[in-house]
């Protein structure tokens, strides 16, 4: 089994090696790099959502809230206190996990559909709180965040997130999460402390979303409360659903596909002045239709197995 560990070490090395040429605008198209990085960030977000929704069966529509916490907390530290990237990310991770924990404890006792509303409420509360926080730039957003994310850091984070989810799913805790999705009551009767495991999944998911947010903030260098609205949460859901809920690789791929697709759409729309004016609405219509088509016609997503959601 040692070659497997070797391979694992090779991944960061490989990412590090190609980081240099890919980040060089003379060697690699910066627009393409931009998209590749956003694909990585969104893959992390999709994984994060998949962990609670696809694996554990808990419907969250507030993931943009966790992402916002990660983005703002890390940017606050690097911008104001010149924190290095790694500690800033770690802090963001812990803070989002704590938020997941705090939201999870009361709400995860609730039935699934109430949870959905409660997470929606949470996402809104986070956004409104930021909108009113002067130290976080309030309605003007945070500008001039140092660009610390790179191809290397984003894809390393994605690799770690994938590893984490895959390792978890193969083990007893992962089995338990899946059982909660299948039948919560039966799981309780099998001696599983359902609330404890749901809170665990929720915190872990929040922590991944927080990392995604931190990476995002340090790539775009500008964040605004409007980057983390309900629509962002929906976009994350779409990634998970299109990729295939409960499929780890699938969800990550879904995140990438949903980043790439609208880019093509945008290129098309920008050629026509009328359409280009409404491109945001058209993009959302496109997302909504995709979501409907998948749930109604292919609920298992692109990469899921036939049994369906």
């Amino acid at each position: 089994m040692n070659w497997k560990k070797l391979l694992l070490l090779a991944i960061p090395l490989f990412l590090w090696l190609i980081n240099y040429p890919i980040s060089n605008p003379r060697l690699f198209n910066p627009y393409a790099l931009q998209i590749i990085i956003l694909m990585g960030v969104n893959a992390i977000l999709a994984l994060s959502w998949d962990l609670v929704a696809g694996v554990t069966g808990q419907f969250s529509i507030g993931h943009a809230g966790f992402m916002a916490i990660g983005a703002y907390s890390s940017a606050f530290l690097t911008l104001n206190y010149h924190f290095p990237f790694l500690p800033a990310i770690l802090f963001a991770t812990l803070l989002s996990a704590a938020a997941g924990f705090v939201v999870g404890i009361p709400t995860l006792r609730l039935r699934g559909d109430y949870l959905a509303i409660a997470t929606l409420g949470f996402g809104e509360i986070v956004r409104v709180a930021i909108l009113n926080a002067k130290s976080l730039g309030a309605a003007t957003g945070l500008k001039g965040i140092p660009i610390l994310s790179s191809f290397f850091s984003v894809y390393l984070a994605l690799a770690i997130a994938l590893w984490l989810c895959l390792a978890l799913l193969k083990s007893q805790p992962g089995r338990i999460l899946l059982a909660i999705r299948e039948d919560e009551l039966a799981a309780q009767m099998m001696g599983i402390d359902v609330v404890k495991y749901k809170v665990f999944a929720f915190s872990l998911s929040a922590c991944l979303a927080g990392i995604g947010g931190a990476l995002y903030a340090h790539w775009t260098s500008f964040i605004h409360p409007d980057s983390f609205t309900f629509m962002k949460s929906i976009e994350i859901i779409l990634m998970g659903v299109v990729g295939g809920m409960g499929t780890i690789y699938g969800a990550a791929a879904g995140g990438m596909i949903i980043t790439l697709l609208p880019e093509g759409l945008r290129l098309l729309l920008e050629q026509n002045p009328v359409l280009s004016q409404n491109k945001e609405f058209i993009r959302m219509l496109f997302f909504a239709s995709l979501l409907l088509i998948f749930i109604l016609l292919r609920p298992q997503g692109i990469f899921g197995k036939k049994e369906g959601v």
Partner: protein
């Protein structure tokens, strides 16, 4: 004291509107245990149908015009409600798909309606024609408008009619049977799919009327107007006890009053957060709501 009374009166109209929308949420939840996220957007469509019709009519303020505006809003939103159920939910419901899938469909339909609205009408708010010229009345130092009076009275009237339908018609009885025990009602020969359609129709009709009411009261409308009132009405339904029609009415009025009082005595920026706070408190302290029954999953 007078200020307080004044605020209570102002809150009543919003309360009635929340109640009308909340009824739709609660009825659908009763028969298929689904939070129909698209319901708030049906309400928005009602308002826009009202706008289009009102703009078409030559004599906007005649009673006939007012009647036509309400009727057409009701008609089209009913139609839309039935369509949503047919095209969106029914196949999943038949397959006994997980609730998660139904919720995702609900969210998707909601997005579809909102963004179609944005594409057709733009994001800028449109002012709604004054089809009922406003008059104010004084009782002592308390003011109320004819519009408030009309809204409150029609809400009460509609709730009365709804009560008659649910308690005394064949369809109403069937609805209650499905809500009570869906499988059992099917065994007893209740046509469940027709009941679903009927429930969506009924709820959407009320939402359409509520849409025009808000349009008159606000008096501005935009394609995203369904989002917040929709969520709040849902919260009102949870507050009253989801699945309970009287609960939705009570919840609607309580939330409407609470919001008005909060914006009067604290700050209007808390107004929109209040609902979510109420939601979390209710879910923690009394998840079955004010009038709801505790539900236990059957094994």
């Amino acid at each position: 004291m007078n200020l307080f009374l004044q605020q209570l009166i102002n809150g009543l109209a919003w309360g009635g509107i929340y109640a009308l929308i909340a009824i739709g949420y609660t009825m659908v939840y009763g028969v298929m245990q689904l939070i129909n996220f698209a319901h708030g957007d049906v309400f928005m469509v009602g308002a826009f149908v009202g706008l289009v019709i009102a703009q078409l009519l030559p004599d906007k303020t005649s009673p006939l015009s007012v009647f036509l505006v309400f009727l057409s809003a009701m008609f089209f939103s009913t139609l839309l409600g039935i369509l949503i159920e047919r095209l969106g939910y029914r196949s999943l419901w038949r397959k006994n798909a997980p609730r998660l899938s139904l919720l995702i469909v609900a969210v998707a339909i909601s997005l579809l309606l909102e963004n179609s609205g944005l594409l057709l009408f733009g994001a800028a708010p449109r002012s709604f024609p004054e089809i009922i010229p406003s008059k104010s009345y004084f009782v002592g130092s308390i003011i109320f408008t004819n519009l408030q009076l009309i809204i409150i009275l029609s809400c009460l009237l509609l709730m009365g009619i709804l009560h008659l339908i649910v308690m005394h018609t064949k369809m109403g009885r069937a609805m209650r049977a499905v809500a009570e025990d869906s499988e059992m009602s099917a065994l007893l020969g209740v046509p469940r799919e027709r009941v679903l359609s009927f429930t969506f129709a009924l709820g959407s009709a009320l939402a359409g009327i509520a849409g025009v009411m808000v349009a008159l009261y606000a008096p501005q409308i935009n394609p995203l107007m369904g989002l917040l009132p929709g969520l709040k009405a849902f919260i009102a339904a949870v507050l009253g006890g989801i699945g309970s029609i009287p609960g939705a009415m009570v919840g609607g009025f309580v939330l409407g009053e609470a919001e008005t009082l909060v914006s009067a005595y604290l700050s209007s920026s808390y107004r929109d957060l209040l609902a979510f706070l109420v939601l979390i408190l209710v879910l923690l302290l009394r998840p079955q709501g004010l009038l709801g029954k505790g539900v236990v999953e059957k094994l």
